[in-house]
Symmetry: C2
Subunit: 352 residues, 2 copies
DNA sequence: TTGAAAGCGCTAACAA
DNA sequence: TTGTTAGCGCTTTCAA
């Protein structure tokens, strides 16, 4: 058995956490009554309810959620999982992902849910399921689908409550929320074309669904003016700055036949700008740069970054709503949110 | 009572979560044996243990931690709390705070703890205590002490397991981990002085302990060369970009009698650089800029930011260790970690 | 309007 | 080596 209820505070200082039974004793009622009073049940005398509630408050009592959840078979915790690249041991560091996490935190808090934050190997997104399997969380919000479309489909097939931030894919079974990546790619590219740029490079790893879609938008905008994608102007730069730096530098040094670059993240855009300057080419005069995400710092860079704005706060809400809808029994949904171009100096309407 | 054990799966698809009793029935042993087997107890036949473990694995069973924790009176969840400014409704957005959160996530994961992430009104840091009071977490890691030194002391007096990222204060009862702010201020200022700068502005809200300490280092470095702090060169800029932008712009436009500025965050340094350029002054030629934190993007700005590097990963570990030490019964400790200057182009050794 | 008692899923003391 | 049983702190049915 557990240690018998030792005589009054054996150790003295060792103060046991207050629980309902204590309130009950002090109020001279039963535990059931305390429970009812604290939950605002109609089944308890108004005066008693008042008295118990006040006592609890004055003693700074707060309920043991573990016990409550066990009894009620309920849980208000959501796991938010940020993938990391296992090979480079990169941290969660892209400012955009972190902004999304902040937005989700807000949305969850507003709805009375708690947020368990963790990281997972980007190759093993399926491991995120353990949060639900172990009962620690009721559902999972995953930041980015990476290359694991199939793993995600498997998870959804297992009826795991799951929402992924990312792009819409063919044959997708899991719920997702994402920006309109095709539109984003189109807006960015059209803008550069309107500036008179014709040799527009594309930086981003098209094996990732979001990047793949942005590339479609890019290709479409080129086609609108009768241009084709030039494979020589594409660079499969990853999102992790550590890994991307070298390839970006190399590209900027070796290839000079481009007058603009569309980068699939703001961080990449910063890297590119730096590499271009290092190669003796000015931004935006020689090469105009457009980023993606509109991270909080984008406006404060030099030159301030023209970039595709993603609606972060709304995305947080949408992700949470999509998860709660599944928990309420609805089927997983795909949602695409509008994006727009933030025009700043890195790809200015009029070249200074 | 709870709903009686309805006849075989009333709803059909509605699959109840697997629990020990299921494994026990299938393995033909008692629940205790399953429990023992899964916990690797010596008290169970090796063969049985093997069989049960395999069965559990094949069925994808995972334990209900809520129940386990309740029974064991244990909990491996830590609350990480990021304050926000209630007036401006600012998000967690400073990249440095977010990096720290990432580092803490790693450190906790490595030690088998889960992380509950939440935000709290910077005026009411004491509300972070509810995570522990409610049993949802065993301790709190707070990112920044802000102006609430007294609230934090009260929490510590209540024996709340708590560690704060921030500066050491007189009469401090709560545990803290922080960078060596005085040293950081000194290094930054000395560097600027060595470049021949003499009119060095200070951007940061000295009501915050960390900034206060950095200002001491700044003042000390000035004194070393026979200079005094000039109140006219101080700007109480807050950390939130939204709020800071205006005051920084105004300062940079109105006051021209400074040739360097020491900013208490990298974001502030970016803001300042932009405001200076807008006012027609070049960085670093006219005004050298030094930031603080060495956020991941600092190296990719233009010009790359000279800044005081804070050891983020080590800080995450130190915060977690400090909390675990308290949980093991040790007294709260104050810890200061070394910082160093990252020399980059915003305050170059040789002016180009 | 209240209290007694059962039980959420698990662990461990005790008995066999 | 295994099973039986009590109980972690809470909610709720049932009886009073």
């Amino acid at each position: 058995m557990t240690k018998s209820k030792e005589s009054p505070e054996s150790a003295g200082s060792e103060q046991r956490r207050l629980q309902m039974v204590d309130i009950a004793r002090l109020a001279g009622v039963s535990v059931s009554t305390v429970s009812r009073a604290l939950n605002g049940s109609e089944l308890v005398n108004a005066e008693t309810r008042q008295r118990v509630a006040e006592l609890a408050r004055s003693l700074n009592y707060s309920i043991n959620f573990g016990a409550r959840n066990l009894r009620l078979q309920e849980n208000k915790t959501v796991a938010v999982v940020v993938p990391y690249d296992a090979r480079s041991r990169q941290h969660i560091s892209d400012p955009f992902f972190l902004s999304i996490v902040g937005a989700i935190a807000d949305a969850l808090t507003d709805r009375g849910y708690d947020m368990l934050l963790s990281r997972v190997d980007a190759e093993r997104l399926d491991q995120a399921a353990h949060w639900v399997d172990s009962g620690k969380a009721i559902g999972v919000i995953l930041i980015g689908q990476w290359r694991q479309h199939d793993q995600l489909n498997d998870m959804a097939a297992r009826k795991l409550p799951l929402v992924v931030w990312g792009g819409e894919m063919p044959q997708q079974l899991y719920a997702s929320v994402g920006g309109d990546n095709v539109l984003g790619g189109t807006l960015a590219t059209r803008h550069l074309l309107q500036l008179g740029r014709r040799r527009i490079a594309f930086f981003g790893d098209a094996k990732l669904p979001e990047v793949w879609l942005r590339r479609q938008g890019y290709a479409q905008a080129l086609r609108e003016v009768g241009l084709e994608v030039d494979a020589a102007l594409e660079l499969a730069a990853p999102f992790e700055p550590g890994v991307a730096t070298d390839v970006v530098r190399q590209f900027c040094q070796s290839r000079r036949d481009f007058d603009a670059v569309f980068c699939c993240s703001d961080v990449l855009a910063l890297l590119a700008s730096q590499a271009l300057r290092a190669a003796g080419r000015s931004v935006p005069t020689d090469v105009a740069v457009v980023g993606y995400d509109d991270m909080p710092l984008a406006a404060y860079c030099d030159p301030p970054l023209t970039t595709v704005h993603q609606p972060v706060a709304e995305a947080g809400v949408a992700l949470v709503e999509a998860l709660l809808a599944q928990l309420a029994g609805e089927r997983p949904t795909l949602r695409t949110m509008p994006v727009h171009l933030m025009r700043r100096a890195s790809a200015p309407d009029v070249i200074a």
